[in-house]
Symmetry: none
Subunit: 402 residues, 2 copies
């Protein structure tokens, strides 16, 4: 479908806003969901004047991680473009990944007489871990043809990037984890699962050996374990496919990182919803498309804090007039997946969606809730269709066929 | 999609019930469908507390036979896995097919001077037919490398299985019918349509020749015609794909046979709904998944007996408290296809569906009917998604992607 869209794309001066309330969808407690509980007069009024529905992030019954959740709403089939754990971890730590990179999630561990004694090196403090990671970076900057880039995370965790001179063939990072997931066992060797992945496995093996040598005098953190070795996928750029110059506005690095994978501009932003809107206002003239990510809705859901999630939605509602005041031609409000507070986790449930533009029926949903959106003109639709609808509603798609 | 699901499957101790009211969906007479006419207080209450919708067995406008109808709700794409007529006939006669088998639907016929005089051998009585079939079995137990297994049906009809020592290549049963569908013509020769099907064609030809010799002194049934020559498909097992140990509870052999094709356990059960529920109760500890098939809803529909169909639905409704009393974690009630009494046949209409679990919105359908299910949170969805939803609702699917 992307190929078809690409051929139909037109340019104009319209502005499209995609506001993502992370983990938006919910389930009822005593009959009402978080959205049904929150007082959201602005969202409800907008829903009444918008095309409404629910989007399916991946497929029926499939609970998406943040990677597939965002790729879908950015217009990319999440079954076609899979993002490995190492890549997501590195993005979350703010690493600016390139399509020549392989990313790895790492742990410090304690190994004695060849056996793993502690898979987390006694949960060493973040400060201690950071000093060790800086030392590794100082001693190891290159292995074979790859530049090696270390980035510390929390406690015993860090990420490593192998940066190659050129993009690797598909399958080049198919190398097993070295963490056997149990103590009392020896660490595993990184073994290539095919011919293409031999280079990455060799570098991983050398990395483990050199780190072992450097860390040999440490009591706890005397070894490193590698997990989720993954290649940065060569995804076609958002602007190339959809003709939209795009700005991602997100407080958390992981979401900026996901946007950067498809070539959106992703300057860092601090603060919360207010600061995100100000940032959008300041950059309004320079972009066609604005992705704004509101994280805390999901965080409260993950914590099982039903009231907190409803409260965060109310807080967003209060800012909605400011957003509408920027006069977007197309305003889309949705989530990347559902996070029902009762489940304390992401879920498979479809996600409320509204698209506001001059070209909608409207009048079908009385409020912006799961159940009211079911009555809407968009029905339940795969998430990848949201961007084509945004293009259509902004007059950016030619007729298909004569 | 099955490949994705397979990688995400978790095991736990939940119980999933899939209750299939065969031919459930209907069309109105004087404004009300069978479901809208039947008094079903228990189903209606359950629908109000469940995720509701309608499933599309195959595709818009496509009326499914029993094979594709069931494969879809078992989570297998019915366009990918096709079940030949000979296989379905043999399953209906209770033959325990293996993946090394080719099954054929056969008729006794009358041939005079090389031309077919009667394609049904004067509709000989079942008793007579059975004696002839027993004689054929006694005289013919093997042709070339295949064991030959005869099973008599009604009147002039029977099934033959060619059981090979090993599974055959795809396309090995692509051999034409020998029935020209008209009297006054000679029977056709079984001709292979490709290289792989030469073995089966040769055996079919020898079978016809030998049967002709054995039956040469019969007045009416002096020949056999072969139709629907079909290979048993090598479908991946339900437990392998979905991680569910499954018990099929069905009175009619064909439905047990369909379940057996995907490796469900299929002990024979006698009686009706009451006995099926008792059987489920007795086996509750030994399985994860229970497929219960209620046939008569369809039978009344096929007979054009609107009141009878509504009555059978009411009868099922009265047993619903017993089913819920078994405390399934996920309870699914639907049909394999629609059978509107006004059409006296299967139809293409989507089929009412409810999924009851703790993780639903609910409150959208006021009753379990075609029109009320349209208001539900599941929308109209392809049938193959029902099992993934059952897995999600029972906590048996990991998150997809990081």
């Amino acid at each position: 479908m992307q190929e078809i869209i690409k051929d139909l794309v037109l340019k104009n001066n319209t502005k499209i806003f995609l506001i993502v309330l992370d983990g938006l969808g919910g389930l009822p407690i005593e009959g009402r969901t978080e959205l049904e509980t929150a007082r959201t007069p602005n969202l409800d009024a907008l829903a009444r004047a918008s095309a409404t529905g629910l989007h399916m992030p991946v497929s029926y019954g499939i609970t998406p991680g943040s990677g597939p959740g965002h790729l879908g709403i950015f217009g990319y089939d999440p079954l076609r473009w899979q993002i490995g754990r190492g890549v997501l971890e590195a993005l979350g730590l703010g690493v600016e990944l390139r399509n020549t990179d392989v990313a790895v999630r790492c742990n410090y561990a304690t190994v004695q007489e060849g056996l793993i004694k502690d898979r987390r090196a006694g949960r060493i403090a973040t400060e201690k871990g950071r000093r060790l990671t800086e030392r590794l970076q100082k001693e190891i900057s290159r292995i074979d043809e790859a530049e090696i880039i270390f980035t510390h995370g929390m406690e015993y965790r860090f990420a490593v990037v192998f940066r190659f001179p050129e993009p690797l063939d598909e399958g080049s990072a198919e190398v097993n984890d070295t963490d056997p997931q149990k103590t009392g066992k020896p660490p595993l060797r990184p073994v290539p699962s095919n011919h293409q992945s031999e280079r990455v496995a060799r570098i991983a093996e050398k990395l483990v050996e050199r780190a072992k040598e450097i860390l040999k005098d440490e009591d706890a953190a005397n070894f490193i374990l590698l997990r989720g070795i993954a290649q940065v996928p060569s995804i076609p750029a958002f602007e190339e496919v959809f003709g939209l110059k795009a700005l991602a506005i997100a407080i958390y690095p992981m979401y900026r990182g996901l946007a950067r994978l498809i070539g959106m501009d992703t300057p860092p932003v601090n603060g919360d919803i207010r600061e995100e809107i100000e940032f959008m206002r300041d950059n309004l003239q320079d972009y066609d498309f604005f992705f704004v990510h509101v994280k805390k809705v999901d965080s409260y859901g993950e914590d099982g804090d039903f009231e907190g999630k409803a409260g965060k939605i109310e807080e967003f509602d209060a800012f909605l007039p400011d957003i509408r005041g920027l006069n977007p031609d197309v305003l889309i409000i949705t989530g990347d997946h559902s996070t029902p507070s009762v489940m304390k986790s992401h879920s498979w449930h479809p996600v409320p969606l509204l698209i506001h533009s001059p070209y909608v029926l409207g009048g079908l949903s009385q409020a912006f809730t799961e159940r009211e959106c079911l009555k809407g003109e968009l029905g339940i639709l795969p998430a990848v269709n949201i961007i084509p609808l945004a293009l259509a509603n902004s007059g950016r798609l030619k007729k298909f066929g004569a």
